[in-house]
Symmetry: C2
Subunit: 339 residues, 2 copies
Amino acid sequence: MPLRDSPTVVMGHGGGGQMSAELVEHIFVPAFANTVLSGLADSAVVSLGGAKLAFSTDSFVVRPLFFPGGSIGDLAVNGTVNDLAMSGAQAAYLSCGFILEEGTELQVVGEIAQRLGRAAKRAGVSVLTGDTKVVDAGHGDGVFVNTAGIGLIPDGIDIRPQRAQPGDVVIVSGAIAVHGIAIMSVREGLEFGIEIQSDCAPLNGLVQTMLAVAPDVHVLRDPTRGGLATSLNEIAQASGVGIELTERLLPVPEAVANGCSVLGLDPLYVANEGKLVAIVAPSDADATLAAMRTHPYGAEAVAIGTCVEAHAGMVVTRTGLGGTRVVDTPIGEQLPRIC
Amino acid sequence: MPLRDSPTVVMGHGGGGQMSAELVEHIFVPAFANTVLSGLADSAVVSLGGAKLAFSTDSFVVRPLFFPGGSIGDLAVNGTVNDLAMSGAQAAYLSCGFILEEGTELQVVGEIAQRLGRAAKRAGVSVLTGDTKVVDAGHGDGVFVNTAGIGLIPDGIDIRPQRAQPGDVVIVSGAIAVHGIAIMSVREGLEFGIEIQSDCAPLNGLVQTMLAVAPDVHVLRDPTRGGLATSLNEIAQASGVGIELTERLLPVPEAVANGCSVLGLDPLYVANEGKLVAIVAPSDADATLAAMRTHPYGAEAVAIGTCVEAHAGMVVTRTGLGGTRVVDTPIGEQLPRIC
């Protein structure tokens, strides 16, 4: 695809949709020559000293820094732990870089560090190494955090966005669109009946539980920016399969559906921070679902669709009326600074 | 040491001196419980899947983005490659996170990516995985970059800030204070006779050359923020030795000395981005120096002092007049946003 005609960076370049993909394709991939190996996966997989490792990074610029169900510190841990888990890796070590704005209250920095430390403990990872930079007031926004992580991939695990096959079952681990609506509700001061808490959570334990019963998971993905629609489109394109969802099976809590409705958003495009989508062989689907439901972060796991030979590279959803509609990749940014 | 009485973040918290150390000691270390293992080293050393790895991260907020001799892209690669090299590791893989400010010219982002890619190629590392976030105009400053890196440490290498011993020789790989003065000259529009180019360079090749002739290097450090004075104080404190420098042996180019003089700076406190300080046993000093001088980035390597039993934890320098003065750790920020 061509780089959209814009001389400057716009918010959409950070939205995880088509504009983000264009930036990577036209600016970063050529610049880094053949050295960008991660392709479309959430983490890169490499060998080093005989160990098979996953390696991933994310920066976090969420606003506000604290929100119902989490904080930038929780996101910084869980985001990277989850990216590693989507390669089947057990996250082991994190690095942590802070960019602080001059004038930010030290008490706020301390609270974020505390939350980050607790989240690391909960996920079973160690923060090994860090860095702090300070920028002048007016050239940052309180606190930005970057984490990178490394984890070990067990022998025999091969989880990649290219491995979806016609017939495979599409499973989601629980309710979608919760994180994005939780952030928007506090940012915009909206109320949707009850307080919506972010689903921000570490998924490495859930993945281990799944692999214990069915190690041949084909694809895993955590649908953050751009939501489930973006993740499924990336998988469909990487694997050359079609994906067909059944709309009534999509788990959207009522308060979240109300929030989407008020904000004019489709829950398929809203960010999650504690959910995964899994693509598994039909013979593994029941065992995988049963195992997921034993884990707190997979208690509401459900099959939502299948991979098909038709419309390769495209995602469609069957509506309640028996029709189908195309679920495309979003172009830019629906919800800015959600993570 | 106590946390200095300030309710908010000030520029000095990012200066790499005492205020940075206090922030780490009082806010980050307690928050991350016992999980911060890197201690005072430039990179953390861990075992994973049987491999001995170094792991490090740095964020880069330098202003301006391009400067004589380098750019934020060059710094982002060399900074992390050098942190890994200071554990004796050969950097293998980098992650790269961009935080872009809305409204930044895409051409600028592209040029930085190109420079980053070329620097990675020159250093022999692959950029494996990345992330891009966008913040609204007025909440960033063009481009911030974070890199994290992993590298393999060969068997038998044990380079740590705790290993300096009385009698050891202190070697610096070349002229000091060059990067900081190069940045200040363009930022302030000052001229010091000739254009001063940053010394920004990858030091992994130089370290390999050193280890080939004398694998028992005790300590390595790249004296970036806070300059040589800060690195040597950290080593003296970690090892419990005194360090005695001879002032006339410190390599400071004339134009850099002029710049320091105009700006009122001591070159011992000004950042380097392509220099290392090595602490080696006296029996290894000549061979190490000879090997360093065969490498382009060590051609002007020189012994500048020794480790002593006296004044443990302190660095002193012998002046031209035969006296000594204490070289303390700087408190805050001499030169903001230098890397």
